[in-house]
Subunit: 601 residues, 2 copies
């Protein structure tokens, strides 16, 4: 029998994955859509590479959320499918995976599902393509293999069969014996995976994955309130079995633990630390670098000007609109170590904010020492970033800087301010960091999202104040590795990302090149005005939308450990481009790897 492997099972760029699969002796691969989107190779080039390596492309995956939808939505789905079938023709792949819908709008109607899958198969057949329909274990209405097969059987189309996946079948506890009732020629594909059972076992959950209150998903405070109502006055004691804590240093873990209890005690009303003082804006972001040139070249291209310098230290203030960056060459840092070292947070009550932070065990930093320096209150975040609490009128720290005469002009189309800061966390400090920003700064934490980097999964979680004037995105690798390879970034808000990107390009500052496959996929997923998509493609602008509006954004190259983003939110879009992050991350790896093949000019 042929053996295949899905590209998602391996690390790296698409070509690395293909090479590894071929060298290990696999006959073919399933190409996972994200691997294709992120690749600089065209589909035809990928096909040629596979041919060279002796690999067949046994499956292209997946088409999602296709079936059992209202007619209008289905028409859009068919349009998207046609795009993908054309792509598969170039790729030389003849089987496509369709996963059972997880769309909340999907209708619980097997006959409708069968009719629409029949229509899809009919379209596919014209391209010489077979459709393999698979039940996801968490499908909206179809979640078992026998159910998926009944729909395929009802559809009765020669280009429609089923795909079986051992994970989806066995994780549901379905009896696989029923598979024998399906004719072999209607099983178009078989995907295999094993999984450790203890992931679902409360004993393993308890012994390995407990965490401190506020770092998980339980309503611990609710429980404690019930206990307090009984008159209980014994200790609140943390008993946490956690594989990572067992290995981490005891002292910071103990501090983290007691901070979690303090937040909990406040929540249930048995402790009154100083109230949180929520920051109202980003006063500045401070970059430290051994060589300011590459950084200031980028900032100049972005329309920033150097407006002031510090009276006693080698620190320059670069400004545009409400975005203020300090470029500090006075701190010892390796040449490739340019990084975001400090954030000034505008606070309605800086001493109050510092008192809160200190009460919650944040390490308080020594105040700046130069004779005339404004004594700013500062604490260290768990990742080492220094957080300064600044007067919201900038009365304090700005006085340490003297103007250098150049006007703080806002170039049109310009940067309005800082939209968000993205800070990379050490891999095992993610939950601690979220609790810190929530508890110490009074920010709200959003749900965390997974983002696929070619060399590992990342988790990303935003914390922000209510009006979005302070947004910090915490990112972390899902599994441990070299923390320093992932960069921090500063996203600048603009009202016209297209014009801003053009100006950057015209200033000779290269933007991050985005693979053509990404734009082909955008074309399949959205309708654009004439020329709109071509503009994005030309400038490397990424696109997303949610129920509130659209997000358009592009990226500079990386300097040291920092890069910049230009970002335009319209209609109140609330996201951070998580959907585009895998493509962005792959593009960043590609420009870092000089040997990377590219179809870009």
């Amino acid at each position: 029998m042929r053996t295949s492997i899905a590209t998602v099972s391996l690390s790296g760029t698409l070509t690395e994955k293909l090479t590894a699969a071929a060298r290990a002796g696999f006959d073919g691969v399933e190409i996972f859509e994200n691997d294709l989107l992120a690749s600089p190779l065209t589909p035809r080039e990928i096909r040629a590479r596979c041919l060279d390596l002796g690999l067949g492309i046994d499956l292209y995956q997946p088409l999602r959320d296709i079936e059992a939808v209202p007619a209008e939505a289905f028409a859009r789905n068919l349009r998207r499918a046609r795009h993908k079938f054309e792509l598969m023709g170039e790729l030389g792949a003849d089987t496509v995976l369709v996963c059972s819908s997880v769309d909340p709008e999907a209708i619980d109607d097997d006959a409708l599902a069968a009719a629409q899958l029949r229509e899809l198969a009919d379209l596919a057949q014209g391209f010489g393509i077979r459709v393999a329909y698979e039940a996801l274990a968490w499908g909206r209405h179809v979640s078992t293999y026998d159910h998926a097969w009944r729909i395929v059987e009802a559809a009765g189309h020669p280009a429609l069969g089923t795909c079986l996946d051992s994970f989806h079948i066995l994780s549901r506890g379905s009896d696989p014996k029923g598979i024998e009732d399906i004719p072999g020629e209607k099983i178009f594909f078989l995907q295999l995976a094993d999984a450790p059972l203890p992931a679902m076992d409360v004993l393993q959950w308890s012994r390995h994955h407990r965490c401190f209150p506020g770092q998980g998903g339980f309503d611990v405070a609710g429980l404690v309130r019930h206990v307090l109502r009984t008159g209980y006055d014994g200790p609140l004691s943390l008993e946490v079995f956690n594989d990572v804590f067992r290995q981490a240093e005891a002292a910071p873990t103990a501090v983290d633990a007691r901070r979690s209890l303090l937040v909990l005690q406040e929540e249930v009303g048995v402790a009154q630390p100083p109230a949180p003082v929520v920051p109202t804006g980003v006063a500045f972001a401070e970059l430290v670098t051994a060589d300011a040139e590459p950084l200031t070249a980028l900032l100049g291209g972005l329309g920033f000007t150097r407006t002031a310098r510090h009276r006693s230290k080698p620190v320059d203030l670069w400004q545009q609109g409400e975005a203020r960056l300090l470029v500090n060459t006075g701190t010892a840092v390796r040449r490739d170590g340019t990084r975001l070292a400090a954030v000034g947070l505008e606070s309605p009550d800086p001493p109050g904010a510092a008192a809160r932070a200190e009460a919650l065990l944040a390490p308080v930093l020594p105040r700046r020492r130069a004779p005339k320096d404004a004594p700013l209150d500062a604490v260290a975040a768990p990742d080492g970033t220094e957080l300064f609490f600044c007067d919201a009128r900038l009365a304090d720290w700005r006085a340490d800087f003297e103007d250098v005469g150049e006007p703080a002009a806002v170039a049109a189309p310009g940067v309005r301010g800082i939209d968000h800061l993205a800070l990379t966390q050490p891999w095992h400090h993610f939950d601690e960091a979220a609790l810190f920003h929530r508890g110490v700064l009074g920010l709200r934490a959003e749900d965390s999202v997974d983002v696929a980097d070619p060399y590992g999964l990342q988790r990303s979680r935003a914390v922000s104040n209510a009006d979005g004037t302070v947004r910090i995105v915490l990112t972390v690798q899902a599994a441990p590795g070299d923390d320093t390879v992932h960069a921090q970034h500063i996203a600048f808000a603009t009202d016209d990302v297209v014009a801003a990107a053009r100006r950057l390009r015209d200033a000779g500052v290269p933007l991050l090149p985005i693979p053509a496959n990404y734009y082909d996929d955008l074309a399949a997923r959205h309708e654009f005005a004439d020329g709109e998509l071509e503009t994005y493609r030309e400038l490397g602008i990424l696109y997303d939308h949610d129920e509130h509006g659209t997000l358009r954004h592009c990226y500079t190259r990386t300097v040291g450990r920092v890069f910049f983003e230009l970002l335009q939110r319209d209609g109140g879009h609330r996201g951070y481009g998580a959907r585009n992050a895998p493509v962005r991350l792959a593009a960043q790896h590609a420009v870092r790897t000089p040997t990377a093949l590219t179809s870009q000019p």
Copy 2:
């Protein structure tokens, strides 16, 4: 309210944990039994240390499997409890945690549970101790907090109350509102932990924790057999979403993946690689070292003699009974890098074993090159250990060695042979290693067990042949860290561990010192003949038993990355001393850390 933390929540030795808890501002601690057993401090010294640090000992935990058992078993349990109450007196702890029984022999009888807990509380009261009874979420008959409370209420004893744990309550989905029905003064203790919910979610399970067939807990082969019966002849394709694989290098992951498919294909009868040739014994273990002296001093003390040397390489053969060690000073290795580099496996068909290994993609090593060397077939295990397939009559490799005239005397009491080899795996190669030893060598894999090291959890899994003449224990850290801190070891079988340990001591070779607290606990758990326990205590011999018999074992100090174990199995005991491993690991850390406090002479 007081705040406490269980020592199990933090990393390190007991004193490190206490210091970290005090510095973070906790008022007290729960002392976890294993932390006490592994500590060189006496209970009184621990009490004094806590007093110094301003920490109370708010709870001692736990007593397990106490209640609802037949009268005879309960009498043994009371005897054990009395020991622990005496210890708590020295410790100055006044509350003990009793977890609901998980003993399969426990009886589903609340009245019996209540009566026995009342009797336990009565005993405790005499020592000034309170008993806090807690429902474990996986308790045999009592698994919810309200059930535990009903039993406590029925028992009606002033020294008996309940302990609430947010994990056990919320992980079961119990409604915590019912807590308000318990009088506050009967809640003796409150333990808090949070936990991430997605651990129980099939979507997260699928997206992060899939693995290759044979590395998890699904019957993937069974499913494939059903599929084959349908006449399916498409590809077998691996689709594995795994956080670690996403980060690991693609090439070895792809090889690992295809090996898993090859084993699966063989299992379901669609591939016929050369049949496994199960090894029948350990021909030799090869240690490489830059300085043979510390190693050979140990081996001499153990009764080994140098019997032969290699004809062309700086390799000596040390032998005793059927235990043969090669000491190789010819391989470049750091002075502190002494390690177990190769294992010779006796095989009834060495070329056949090598052909199997090669077919299953094990890296084949170049044969040894010296002109007269016997050309041994060898492959590399996933951890880099070289595995040589040797003729079972030792006809091949032994001829490369010339006798040095010293007799291969078996000193009485002597080492009979090698009982097992323990090989430390890189943390993310554990499942791969087990599949390798199972698939390539035809060994059986036992279940993996968790072992608490002071600085992190370890997982340990034994692979062996049917008659136990080849046993390899694979160990790995549960979370990533510095792989090199954990040592490999060779366990030698002896028929008289006491005499062997005495001889070693008399030869001036120090054995690993075991804390006195360990022996006090043994006295609480088992009955020994007169003087027996004192002998173990004097020599540092550890003790365990299972349903088959007893295990007694002791350890040498560590040289480089290797240490030795002397082990006596009686009555067919099958274990490897996992129960004693936390104490052994802590003792090893203690002798490595020159500043460690110790009550040992």
